[in-house]
């Protein structure tokens, strides 16, 4: 187990311990909620793991690099940002996928663009956002988020 994994587990165990001491009922409800989230995430989790394994087994590094690596340039970043905006993957599961793409030769900027639009922009939830907060607000927020994601990924590609 890595140091980060140990840290996260220690944090969870100590928080859970504190919760049980303070309010047994609420702590049980929290555990129940965690279990339900696990069950609902499980199919997607397995899909992601299989996709990663397929990626490693069948796609040659050079192929992936030419699409998502340093030399893919602006087009690679823009494509990754667009994919992140449209796709509806829970962010928790997107990070392992992003890690495997990085390991396979995708560039930092491409991965940063993908992860940032994936979390900030919701194509699927756009109608609800328009309804709750107004058309202008929703369109501006999503549009500017896309631009911000491109900016963030350029800076990250430059810095790292």
């Amino acid at each position: 187990m890595s140091a980060t994994a140990v840290l996260i587990n220690l944090l969870a165990v100590s928080a859970l311990g504190t919760a049980f001491v303070r309010d047994r009922k609420k702590a049980r409800a929290a555990l129940m909620m965690a279990w339900k989230m696990f069950i609902s995430l499980l199919p997607m989790l397995m899909v992601i793991i299989i996709l990663i394994a397929l990626l490693f087994a069948f796609i040659p590094r050079e192929r992936l690099e030419s699409f998502l690596g340093e030399q893919s340039g602006f087009l690679g970043i823009a494509a990754a940002a667009a994919a992140g905006a449209v796709l509806h993957i829970p962010a928790l599961l997107a990070f392992p996928l992003a890690a495997s793409l990085l390991e396979k030769g995708a560039s930092i900027a491409v991965i940063a663009a993908f992860v940032t639009t994936l979390t900030m922009i919701g194509f699927v939830t756009l109608p609800l956002e328009i309804e709750s907060l107004g058309r202008k607000f929703a369109l501006l927020r999503n549009g500017l988020s896309f631009a911000a994601a491109l900016g963030i990924s350029f800076v990250m590609g430059f810095l790292l």
Binding site: A34, I50, A53, F56, A57, F95, E129, M156, L159
Partner: protein
Amino acid sequence: MKKDKSDNRKPLRRWVPVVALGLMSAFLLLRFPESQKSFNETLQSYTMEMLTVFPAVLVLMGLLTVFISKEFISRHLGEGSGLRGFAVSLFLGTLPTGPLYMAFPLAAVFQRKGARTANLVIFLSSWACIKLPQELVELRFLGSLFMLTRLSLTVVAVVAMGLIIERLTAGADRDSL
């Protein structure tokens, strides 16, 4: 909301992609046996990594959802403006309280109560992309340098976006209500 209900009624449908992808991989692996070793190794190592991280993250999310009430959230976002308002909106968004579509109605309530547009944007954006559990998973899989750089750039971008959107919608407030 509608989506959740249909998910509960047909839980088996969610497994269709898993089965389809499993069959596809089985076919590919039988056709190209030389890739089996790499496939199995990746499958094992990622399954192990997921199992050591996700249960803890989900427990943390459950605990925070149960122990932090909606009243707490609306009390502290309120009319707080200036830098403190930015900080409060940013912080409230990071609490693991559910998917983004749960934040829209909440933000609409703040909007009606007279919260600054900039704070609404900051709140929604950090709710969407600076969630505490997400940062932990990002730290685990992409490393601290990647995570911290992206985090600080995102905070700057989110505050800037809030101010820009506030400027641009200044005249349109009455239309959107």
